[in-house]
């Protein structure tokens, strides 16, 4: 296992401790494995919480910050946090105006977060709502879109909903906008090499020396095909085609696009992908707003990339461009 760590059992806690120690002006960890804004909940502001397994930085905890999230519950690597931690996150995010649970559609996370919501309502009388990200187009057919997994689309949803909450929208409004953003996102991934969960000690999957897998999920969930590595432009072409087949775009449409590294794939190669994606979109007359290229949702040291597109309207565009700040991203 080629990783820099101490005891694998301490990976998550030491990581969080280091993150808070490095950015004490942004993050606090008032309860074990719950990250909240250092400044605390803002009275009268709708809170937004998320949660999920570790190993995806900046997702999830990294996006706690002004104009983004208020709190986050963190599980073991690739495992759900407990409902208790999620309930704590809700409590810490509460500024008296209710709390939106905004996270990815994974079975364990959903059960625990629903449970946590009930706890928070029962114990602290906090009104909560839920919006699930289901942006991975490969994880279920369009007819069963509600079964799809949530991946890097979360970044857009956090940003847009976070800006709505920050400007003072009420819980129903923030929930409506978050749902609109989630609905407007489509993502697809491809991977070249796996990563290793510290406590498992071995790679999450095996793949040949010259192979890639199209459509693979961020935890190594099986994709659509596995074959010899294709040229970057062909990879980008297929990814864009699949995204646009699911959510057709027409001349004049406005989108933002996120070309994201799963971890090891360097910025250089993301820009090679972006270069071609922009050509394709330019040719189709689709306008790109605030493109994002970098490591926004990772799987530790996995090699590969994801592309997310969000179809924007004026409301979402304004919120996407609003100020925001966490340790990993500033707008």
């Amino acid at each position: 296992m080629k990783k820099i760590l101490n005891n694998p059992a301490d990976y998550v806690d030491e990581m969080l401790e280091g993150m808070v120690a490095a950015h004490p002006e942004i993050y606090a960890q008032p309860v074990r494995r719950v990250i909240a804004r250092a400044a605390g909940a803002k009275t009268g502001k709708v809170g937004i919480v998320t949660g999920g397994g570790s190993g995806h930085l900046p997702i999830f905890a990294g996006y706690v910050g002004a104009g983004l999230l208020d709190a986050c519950a963190i599980g073991d690597v690739f495992a759900s946090p407990s409902a208790e931690q999620m309930a704590e996150a809700i409590r810490l995010a509460d500024g008296g105006a209710g709390v939106l649970r905004l996270y990815g559609n994974y079975g364990g996370d959903v059960m625990n977060f629903d449970m946590a919501g009930e706890m928070a309502e029962m114990e602290h009388d906090i009104r909560t709502t839920t919006v699930l990200l289901t942006d991975d187009v490969v994880s279920a057919p369009k007819e069963e879109a509600e079964k799809r997994r949530g991946v890097a689309g979360m970044v857009y949803a956090f940003k847009i909903a976070g800006a709505a909450a920050e400007r003072g929208d009420n819980l129903d409004e923030v929930t409506r906008i978050a749902q609109k953003a989630a609905d407007a996102c489509r993502s697809i991934g491809m991977a070249l090499t796996p990563c290793t969960i510290p406590q498992a000690g071995k790679p999450t999957f095996e793949i040949g020396e010259t192979e890639m897998e199209m459509g693979m999920g961020i935890h190594g969930e099986p994709g659509i095909w596995r074959d010899a590595i294709k040229p970057a432009d062909e990879i980008a072409d297929e990814m864009l085609e699949r995204l646009m087949a699911d959510q057709p775009l027409a001349k004049g449409d406005r989108i933002s696009i996120l070309v994201n590294s799963l971890g090891a794939t360097p910025a250089e190669e993301l820009y090679i992908l972006y270069r071609h994606a922009k050509k394709v979109l330019d040719a189709a007359g689709i306008e790109i707003v605030m493109p994002l290229v970098g490591r926004y949702a990772t799987s530790m040291e996995m090699t590969g990339a994801t592309i997310t597109m969000i179809k924007l309207d004026d409301e979402m565009e304004d919120l996407l461009k609003a100020r925001a700040e966490c340790a990993f991203w500033r707008v």
């Binding site: 599980g75 208790e84 364990g108 059960m111 625990n112 706890m119 029962m122």
Partner: protein, 202 residues
């Protein structure tokens, strides 16, 4: 009437019995899932057994639910917490549970757990155990309730063994799951066995 003290004592007995069954449950879950079920169950009851329970049995059941939430994020822990919470909602404000309420509480737990995990009866999960217990308890006299429950849980295990799992991790094993007991149903049997368990040290 089952008051908070009785609940607390029952939890201690279950904690002891499931601790002893932990390895067996991990092995069963290892064959059809990720092998953590023994830990989830024994840790959960250990935590619940040490909880300070308020006199309001509704709030006491809520504490039990929270204990499970606290120590585990695996499905079974969340489902049990859900079940206890459903019962808690019905008992809120009461000093004790009347025996004749039991079938209704188990059924309420079953329904809440079905809603939470989006499962159906017949999927070969702990839901089937709860369903069988709820039916068996209907109209039963208080002094045979524990044995009736254990029997129903044991029968469910046998009845489903040769059927395929249709939910959770075990679902991926498909036809290969025939012949293997569902770990969650087995865990439920061990839990209810704890209701009659007499610890040696007492």
């Amino acid at each position: 009437m089952i008051d908070s003290k009785a609940i607390s004592e029952a939890l201690k007995r279950i904690a002891s019995h499931t601790a002893a069954a932990s390895e067996e449950l991990c092995a069963a879950d290892g064959a059809l899932g990720d092998g953590d079920l023994g830990i989830t169950v024994s840790k959960g009851f250990a935590e619940a057994a040490t909880a300070e329970l308020p006199d309001d049995v509704g709030m006491a059941l809520l504490e039990v639910a929270k204990a499970f939430q606290r120590v585990s994020s695996s499905s079974y822990g969340t489902l049990l917490a859900t079940g206890f919470m459903a019962a808690a909602k019905l008992e809120k404000g009461k000093p004790g549970i009347e025996p004749e309420e039991m079938p209704g509480l188990v059924a309420a737990a079953r329904d809440a757990m079905m809603a939470r995990g989006k499962g159906n009866l017949g999927d070969k999960t702990v839901l089937d155990s709860l369903d069988a217990v709820a039916s068996a308890l209907e109209g039963t006299s208080p002094h045979v309730m524990v044995e009736t429950t254990i029997n129903a849980a044991g029968e469910t295990l046998k009845r489903y063994r040769d059927l395929p799992n249709k939910l959770g991790r075990a679902r991926m094993f498909g036809e290969k799951s025939r012949g293997l007991v569902d770990p969650g149903q087995l865990a439920f049997l061990r839990i209810v066995e704890g209701l009659r368990y007499e610890p040696h040290e007492s």
